[in-house]
C-alpha cells in the first residue's frame, strides 16, 4: 500500500493529535493545538474533553472554532463558566490532564516566550501578545505538549523573556518553584519530536518526521541539540487521519486563520 502524500505541517498536526489520550481533559489554545485536539476527537479519542479558556468545558464543536470564544464552543459545551472559575477551580488545582501550548521562542528546557523579542522589556524590538493563560497552563496541567515549527529564530539558546516555565534551569527546578504538573513531555515540530532527557530534562530529539534528518533538525535549533542514538521515524499520517484533517481545515477557510 502506498502512503498518501502529506506536508510537514500535516505530520506535525497529526503527531500532536496522536499525543492526546482518549478521555483526557485537554486545555486547548486556538490554532494548531485546536486543530490537533479536534482531529483527535474525530479519530482515536472520541471522549477527549476540550476545555477552552473562555470558559467552555467539554466543547464538541462540529467545525473548527475561529477563536477561543467562538459561539460554537458555547453551544456545544457541557457547561459554560466564567473566566475566574476556569482558571481558579479547573486549571489551578490540577484537574486538567493536558495543556497544549505554542510560542514564539522555546529553549532547551522547554521554557516559552510569548512576550517580547529583542531589545529589553521596556524597549523591545518586537512586542508579542503576552502571557494570556499560558503561564498557569504550563504550571498546573498534569502534562504539557508544545507544538511549534522548528527554526533557529524560535528554538533559541536563551529566551528574551520567560513567559511560561518548562523545566526552568533543569531537573528539579519545577519542584523547587512549587509548580504542580510534570511540565512539557513533548515538543512536536515539523521536523520531529523532542522529549526531555529523563536525567537532565534537556529537550532531546527522539523522533524524526518522515524524510527529515538529525542534521536538518540540528541546523534548525539554536543550541547544540542532543539526539537519541537512533531516533524513531514517526508513522506517516494514515489516509483516514489526512481525510479528517483536510475536511476539518475546510471548515475554517474563509474565516479567521
Amino acid at each position: 500500500m502506498s502512503s498518501p502524500e502529506f506536508t510537514a505541517d500535516e505530520m506535525m498536526t497529526v503527531g500532536a493529535a496522536r499525543s492526546l489520550r482518549d478521555g483526557a481533559a485537554c486545555f486547548v489554545g486556538i490554532g494548531l493545538p485546536s486543530t490537533a485536539a479536534n482531529l483527535a476527537r474525530r479519530t482515536h479519542a472520541p471522549n477527549l474533553v476540550l476545555i477552552y479558556e473562555s470558559g467552555t468545558l467539554g466543547a464538541k464543536p462540529g467545525r473548527l472554532p475561529l477563536s477561543i470564544g467562538d459561539g460554537v464552543l458555547a453551544d456545544t459545551a457541557d457547561s459554560v463558566i466564567s473566566v475566574p472559575e476556569i482558571f481558579n477551580y479547573w486549571l489551578q488545582p490540577g484537574r486538567i490532564d493536558t495543556g497544549f501550548l505554542g510560542g514564539a521562542q522555546v529553549d532547551r528546557f522547554g521554557n516559552i516566550n510569548t512576550t517580547v523579542i529583542g531589545g529589553d522589556y521596556a524597549n523591545p524590538k518586537v512586542r508579542l501578545p503576552g502571557a494570556g493563560g499560558a503561564p498557569e497552563i504550563a504550571a498546573s496541567c498534569r502534562e504539557v505538549l508544545i507544538v511549534m515549527r522548528m527554526n533557529p529564530r524560535s528554538f533559541v539558546e536563551k529566551l528574551d523573556f520567560i513567559t511560561s516555565v518548562g523545566y526552568g534551569t533543569g531537573k528539579g527546578d519545577r519542584e523547587a518553584l512549587g509548580l504542580r504538573g510534570r511540565g512539557p513531555v513533548k515538543v512536536i515540530t515539523d521536523l520531529g519530536v523532542l522529549e526531555p532527557d529523563p536525567d537532565t530534562c534537556e529537550l532531546t530529539l527522539t523522533q524524526l518526521s518522515p524524510g527529515a534528518t538529525v542534521e536538518q533538525a540540528r541546523k534548525a535549533v539554536g543550541w547544540p541539540l542532543k539526539a537519541v542514538d537512533e531516533p524513531a521515524m514517526q508513522q506517516p499520517p494514515t489516509e483516514a487521519e489526512l481525510t479528517v484533517l483536510r475536511e476539518l481545515k475546510t471548515t475554517i477557510e474563509g474565516g479567521a486563520k
Partner: protein, 273 residues
C-alpha cells in the same frame, strides 16, 4: 434603579479624562460601540484595563485615548498582532503607553478581588516567569496556615466598567448568556458601570446559566443594537471574522489608520462597527 441613557450621554457622563476604564468582553460581547464613542468624545489619559485588548483597544490606543494599559494578552485573535498597540509601545506613537502586564489567571483574580471588596487576591501563579520582575502588582506571599509561597495581586476597581449584554428590561436589570468572561466581575468591581445591550425588553426571560446583573448594581444601560460587532452576540449575530483580518493592514499603517479614524469614527454619527 439603573438609568436608561443614550450611548453618547452615558459616555459623556460616566467617562472622564484620566479615569481608569475597563471595557471587558471575552471574544464574545465586546463593547465596541462604547469604545468608539469614547474615541469620538476624545477622552485622553485613560488607564485602560482589559484581559484581552483586541481591535477596539488598538483603536483607542491609536487615537491617543490611553496613557496606560493593564492587560494579559494583547493581539488580534486568530490574525496576529495589534499594530497600534505595538507602535505605541515601541515608538510612543501617538503618545507613549505605559503597560502593566499580567497573566489571564492574575487578571481574573484581580477582578474577582475587586468584585469581592478585598484588597488583593491569591493565586498559584507566576513562579519562575519574568513577569514579576516587570510588574509591580505581582508579589510573593506566604500562606499564614501552610507556609506555601503564593502570588498576590491587588484588586482592580475601575472608575468605570463597561460591558455589552444581550438584554435589559426597562428597570435596567441586565441579562447576558453564552461566554460571559469576567463581565460580571467587571461591573461589580467598578465604581460606575455602563451596560450597552442589544435590546431593551419588557420582561427578561429566565435562561439557564445566564448572568443577571440586577438594576441596583448597574449605573446606566444604553440600547445599542449591534454594539458588539465585529465580535458577536449569541442569539443575535455572528462574529465578523473578515473584519478582524481587514483590520490588520489598516492597523499596520499610521496614515491608513488616521483615515479610518476620520471616516469611520469622527465622520460617522455612530460608527458602523
Amino acid at each position: 434603579m439603573a438609568r436608561i441613557l443614550q450611548l453618547d450621554e452615558a459616555i459623556a457622563e460616566l467617562v472622564h479624562d484620566g479615569d481608569t476604564v475597563a471595557l471587558e468582553g471575552f471574544t464574545h460581547l465586546i463593547p465596541v460601540a462604547a469604545g468608539h464613542e469614547i474615541i469620538r468624545q476624545r477622552r485622553k489619559d485613560l488607564t485602560l484595563i482589559r484581559m484581552t485588548p483586541d481591535i477596539v483597544y488598538d483603536q483607542l490606543i491609536g487615537a491617543g485615548c490611553a496613557r496606560k494599559l493593564i492587560f494579559s494578552w494583547g493581539g488580534n485573535p486568530g490574525v496576529g498582532s495589534l499594530h497600534r498597540f505595538r507602535d505605541a509601545i515601541q515608538n510612543s506613537w501617538p503618545v507613549s503607553l505605559e503597560i502593566e502586564e499580567h497573566s489571564h489567571a492574575g487578571m481574573a483574580n484581580r477582578y474577582a478581588a475587586g468584585a469581592s471588596g478585598l484588597p488583593f487576591a491569591v493565586l498559584r501563579g507566576y513562579a519562575g516567569t519574568d513577569l514579576p520582575e516587570q510588574t509591580d502588582t505581582i508579589k510573593t506571599i506566604e500562606c499564614p496556615f501552610t507556609g506555601q509561597r503564593l502570588a498576590a495581586v491587588p484588586a482592580v476597581n475601575p472608575d468605570v466598567g463597561i460591558i455589552h449584554a444581550q438584554q435589559a428590561d426597562r428597570a435596567g436589570n441586565v441579562q447576558m448568556w453564552g461566554i460571559t468572561g469576567v463581565q460580571k466581575e467587571t461591573v461589580l468591581a467598578s465604581a460606575r458601570s455602563l451596560v450597552t445591550v442589544e435590546e431593551i425588553v419588557d420582561e427578561l426571560t429566565p435562561r439557564p446559566g445566564a448572568v443577571v446583573l440586577p438594576q441596583w448594581v448597574v449605573t446606566a444601560v444604553a440600547a445599542v443594537p449591534g454594539g458588539a460587532a465585529p465580535s458577536y452576540a449569541q442569539g443575535y449575530y455572528e462574529r465578523d471574522n473578515a473584519y478582524y483580518q481587514q483590520w490588520d493592514p489598516i492597523g499596520r499603517d499610521r496614515e491608513q489608520f488616521e483615515n479610518w479614524l476620520e471616516t469611520e469614527v469622527f465622520g460617522a454619527e455612530r460608527s458602523a462597527r
